[in-house]
């Protein structure tokens, strides 16, 4: 049980280091408060909506590609079915969706040539989303009128659905801030291990009959415990600030733990490469902060350019942010975040194996 002794030692070293402790807990908390206040009233200026084309006529297609996007406040994407669109709505990826019924094209042609006809459009949105029920319904109605070049009769069938989500600023910030805390685990892991390597303490311990795997387990367990404490701490803070937790807390916890394992693995890689603490620290911050920004821990990824979003998708953190927001805020289940989970598991396993391999190699004679 040598690894257990090493685990206890690493834990003592960390909790007796108030600066490091403050850094792990106070730093993300500070960001949480600053961003919570700064972004409190600042909502995204445009709404993402989906369109389902059940008519599949040239007219309906042009309504989707040319008609709806005329409204500057709407960002339109195509959905394959109403069920898909509803799932996206529940995940919060879109704010509303329209279903264009069969016969829509014929009706528009008829109206344009002077024959009266009924124009129907189904609009589904979250009933609790006040902005949508007012603004989007109005906008869609206006655009349809213009598109068909008539005043009436237009029927926009509004379908408010209950997605149970009332997302406030703290709801949005808290899950991301936890990921930020777990991103800080990269420099933290790197620092703890590089320090022992740099000052020769690891060399001293290596003169005892301790195996490299016992050292790695001793470090990893300690760092994982720190991460778990961090996750619980920020979930508690979020809850205190009024964050609603709708989904399966255990599932969200699992996602966070996977992100933490990826961070610990990356920290080990840095510790294996860095010669000194002064080298390791700035190096890790250099990629941790940009990674935090592009992973959407503070801002929604929706407002970022597509190439940034593409880069962020390479790393596990954007997936973890998306998955935990979906789980905690919108009650998404296991299957809904399945692809994110697979990606996270792959990253966690890959990063920790690479870390073990590279850091383990520095310990071998």
């Amino acid at each position: 049980m040598r690894f257990w002794q090493l685990f206890l030692r690493n834990l003592k070293e960390t909790y007796r280091d108030q600066l490091a402790l403050g850094f792990l807990l106070a730093f993300p908390l500070l960001f949480m408060l600053v961003f919570g206040v700064a972004l409190g009233a600042n909502e995204a200026p445009s709404y993402r909506i989906a369109a389902v084309d059940d008519d599949a006529s040239p007219i309906s297609a042009s309504f989707i590609t040319e008609g709806l996007p005329q409204a500057l406040t709407l960002e339109v994407e195509l959905a394959s079915s109403a069920a898909d669109a509803l799932a996206s709505l529940k995940l919060g990826d879109i704010r509303a969706f329209v279903v264009i019924p069969p016969g829509f094209g014929e009706a528009v042609v008829a109206i344009r040539s002077g024959t009266p006809a009924n124009l129907n459009l189904d609009l589904t949105y979250d009933e609790s989303d006040l902005a949508v029920s007012g603004e989007i319904v109005q906008t869609v109605r206006a655009i349809l009128g213009e598109f068909a070049a008539i005043e009436s009769p237009i029927t926009v069938n509004a379908h408010p659905v209950n997605t149970q989500a009332k997302i406030t600023q703290i709801d949005f910030i808290a899950p991301g801030i936890i990921i930020f805390g777990l991103l800080i685990m990269i420099p933290t892991s790197a620092r703890i291990m590089t320090r022992d390597k740099e000052n020769g303490y690891l060399r001293r311990l290596l003169t005892t009959p301790t195996h490299p795997w016992e050292f790695i387990l001793g470090y990893s367990l300690c760092l994982l415990l720190i991460a778990v404490i961090q996750i619980i701490f920020f979930l508690l803070i979020g809850w205190l600030f009024g964050m609603d937790i709708l989904g399966n807390l255990a599932l969200a916890f699992g996602v966070y733990v996977l992100a933490a394992i990826a961070s610990i693995g990356l920290g080990m890689v840095v510790a294996a490469l860095a010669k000194s603490q002064t080298q390791a620290e700035p190096l890790t911050w250099l990629f941790t902060m940009p990674l935090a920004i592009i992973s959407g821990v503070w801002f929604s990824l929706g407002s970022m350019p597509s190439y940034i979003r593409a880069i962020s998708q390479i790393f596990p953190y954007a997936h973890a942010v998306e998955a935990t927001r979906a789980i905690l805020l919108r009650g998404a289940g296991f299957t809904a975040v399945g692809s994110d989970l697979v990606f996270l598991v792959a990253w966690a396993v890959g990063a920790i194996l690479l870390g073990i391999f590279m850091f383990g190699r520095t310990m071998r004679a």
């Binding site: 040598r2 002794q5 090493l6 030692r9 003592k12 070293e13 007796r16 280091d17 000052n199 020769g200 303490y201 060399r203 001293r204 311990l205 290596l206 003169t207 005892t208 009959p209 301790t210 195996h211 004679a365």
Partner: protein, 327 residues
Amino acid sequence: MSDQAVRNLENSAAEAQRPGPACAVQTFNLTRAFGRLVAVDGISLSIKKGELFALLGPNGAGKTTVISLLCCLLKPTGGTAYVLGHDITKEPYEVKKLIGVSPQETTLSERLNPLENLELIARLHDLPKAKAHQWSCLLLETMGLSERARDQVRNFSGGMKRRLSLAMALIADPQILILDEPSLGLDPQARRAVWEYIEHLKGEKTILLTTHYMEEADYLSDRVGIIDQGRIVSLGSPSELKTRLLDTHTILVKGWNLTQNVIASLQQRYQGVKLEGNTLTVSDRHLDLHELIEQLRRDGASVRSAYFKESTLEDVFIKITGKELRA
């Protein structure tokens, strides 16, 4: 045993490549290269059980590399070594069970107290919890650190850290103690305390220490191996080395009227005559203090003090390598 006999023993052992039963540590053509730099260049030596062996050499001579090889922190690129019969290349964990090491950098777990530091090492050596605690307390007492047993060691002085480091090497009651520069960076008083403690362990344990302090090797060791550029250049007890290698004697003279005439007159008779400041250094194979003083008086100088300079290992080192140790 004479130096020649030891060498013969080592040679025959090197041929056989088998560790002798009386040896605690035996190296056979031990070599370690880092790229093109050969840090340890074919060292063959044996350290007997219970012996205090000092590896003496300047910084960069290869002392710490030898230690790292014996502690299985590095793999040799050639040759091997046996620690109590265990091959360092084949049974590193068996070797590590037998040794206690105090590395050159006094590295401790800074936010643990000395008791925790000691207990950790003890536990890593598989000592049961109660025993680890008991021995740790005992060693802290011996090292005079009991009063600070609950203070974090980052607040300790260099001397206290060094004593704790020594205690950490001892905690698992190893058969072989390896001390890399045990008094490096200590003030004379703290150094003396460390020396006294090491002296107290002599005979009880086999001790291998490295140092670049001549006095340390001179004061402590049974046998000294002088290492330079990765090779053992001379081997023997301190007094053996001095008598074998230093065939000239030196007298230091202080006085007045040490004029050019006086010096010229001395130079006719003695091999080495040098005046530095007001100290005259006279050296030759055969020297007689009375004769020298008599001659000085005759030449009109007045002598305030004159004495034989005791030869040191430093002189031995300069003689062998042609350079100063602390250069």
